[in-house]
């Protein structure tokens, strides 16, 4: 590992930061090594203040535009904010088109851009909407004095909760008119949300959907997460949402579910990093071993 590079990254050099993150992503730089040279972080960790916030939701609900506004507000208030924007890799070729930057304009704003770092990340081999290596990238960013890390997940469906394995808080973004009231009752992502934002409040159906979500949470146990309305386009509700999100407490609900996701993510990583993986996949495709054989070959130790 290049110690000078890591030190330069921690002292604020952007290029070194980007290089170190690539090293972590590619498995060439280990977090344990970095922890040894960073004796202390100038940012002490405060209890109940999040470091990482995952923003997730279905494709097209306006996650990128909303995040752009939030970044500008938080960076404008003096916080150093990093955005890790995740897009899917092709399972066939391994390639990826990372296009989240197209809608992020705050990073070009001269008054706040020194406080904003954006990095596009492909899911590579991992399943789920956030690869586990992102957890290491978040910790490094924190060691390098970035106050808060926002993760924009792959646009995800109802049951995609892998971000729970990584982020301190989960915000689910919804759009207006997302089906009838029963949709809000379905199990899945919404159960793990620490806050819900119904975006595109300028469109018909947003108020009603927010109300359905609130009703649904009140039928359940424990404290309901805040359900907020925003229009990233018209910039209404965004300041209020930014304030609530910044000091969002952990809901404390679903601790077991979060640990379940962490367990699954780590187990998956073990399989994906196994040197035997390629051979096992070939044998499976050739029909020479069964799935049970494959699991015992890969997951054994």
């Amino acid at each position: 590992m290049d110690i000078e590079l890591v030190n330069a990254a921690i002292n604020g050099d952007r290029r070194s930061l980007a290089r170190t993150l690539s090293g972590i992503e590619n498995g060439l730089v280990k977090l344990e090594q970095i922890r040894q040279i960073v004796t202390h972080s100038s940012k002490s960790h405060q209890e109940n203040v999040w470091t990482s916030l995952a923003i997730t939701g279905a494709p097209g609900v306006g996650k990128s535009c909303l995040i752009d506004k939030l970044l500008k507000i938080w960076a404008g208030a003096g916080l150093k904010i990093a955005l890790l924007a995740i897009d899917p890799s092709s399972p066939r070729t391994g390639g990826a088109l990372l296009g989240d930057r197209v809608r992020i304009t705050s990073v070009d704003d001269e008054s706040v851009k020194h406080n904003i770092y954006i990095r596009s990340i492909a899911t590579r081999k991992s399943s789920g909407n956030v690869p586990l290596i992102v957890a290491d990238m978040i910790e490094f960013l924190h060691l390098a004095n970035w106050d808060r890390v926002v993760i924009e997940t792959v646009g995800s469906g109802q049951s995609e909760v892998r971000c729970a394995a990584i982020a301190d808080r989960i915000v689910v973004v919804e759009g207006p008119a997302r089906g009838d009231g029963v949709q809000a009752e379905k199990a899945g992502l919404l159960e793990l949300a620490d806050a819900v934002i119904v975006n595109k409040s300028d469109l018909i159906g947003a108020d009603k959907h927010a109300e359905e979500l609130r009703e649904s949470y009140h039928l359940g146990e424990g404290e309901a997460p805040p359900v907020m309305l925003t229009s990233a386009l018209e910039e209404t509700g965004v300041f209020d949402a930014a304030e609530v999100l910044l000091s969002l407490p952990g809901s404390g609900r679903s601790e077991r579910a979060r640990w379940r996701e962490r367990l699954l993510a780590h187990y998956e990583r073990k399989i994906l990093e196994s040197p035997k993986l390629d051979d096992v996949l070939s044998s499976l495709a050739a029909g020479s071993i069964s799935i049970d054989d494959a699991i015992s070959l890969l997951g054994g130790e």
Binding site: R14, N26, L28, L98, D108, R119, S120
Partner: protein
Amino acid sequence: MGQNIRIVIAKPGLDGHDRGAKVVARVLRDAGHEVIYTGLRRTAKQIVETVRDEDARFLGLSSLSGAHNHLFPRVCELLLEEGISDVIVFGGGIIPDDDRPALHAAGIRAIFGPGTPTDEILEFIVQASTMNDVGVGADNDWYWESSA
């Protein structure tokens, strides 16, 4: 792991035509690379900051507006000012033959015009990625002889 080449595809200037850039981005993606697309109408500075923050190994610039003689060398200059001398820069679009020597001299290692087979762009990426001294700041006059 580790072989995923990160490539920024950028549209500098006021040119609003991005069909070519999108085709190239798609071809690179399908070849297994990680492509970061900047969107339209970026300034040279925005492009350089994107390359820096994304730790890209290659930068592809597309221009169909005729402003390439100004914008492409400007991007190269700013990359060097940022200390990013090892990123490999290539260009594409409507670039007359007469303009190409000056662009190569500015550090652009390939220029692909309309009609270039997409495989040729992939071959360039593979070959250039194995060369150590073809970054924008390298003291080397090598460039790819493109077919179009």
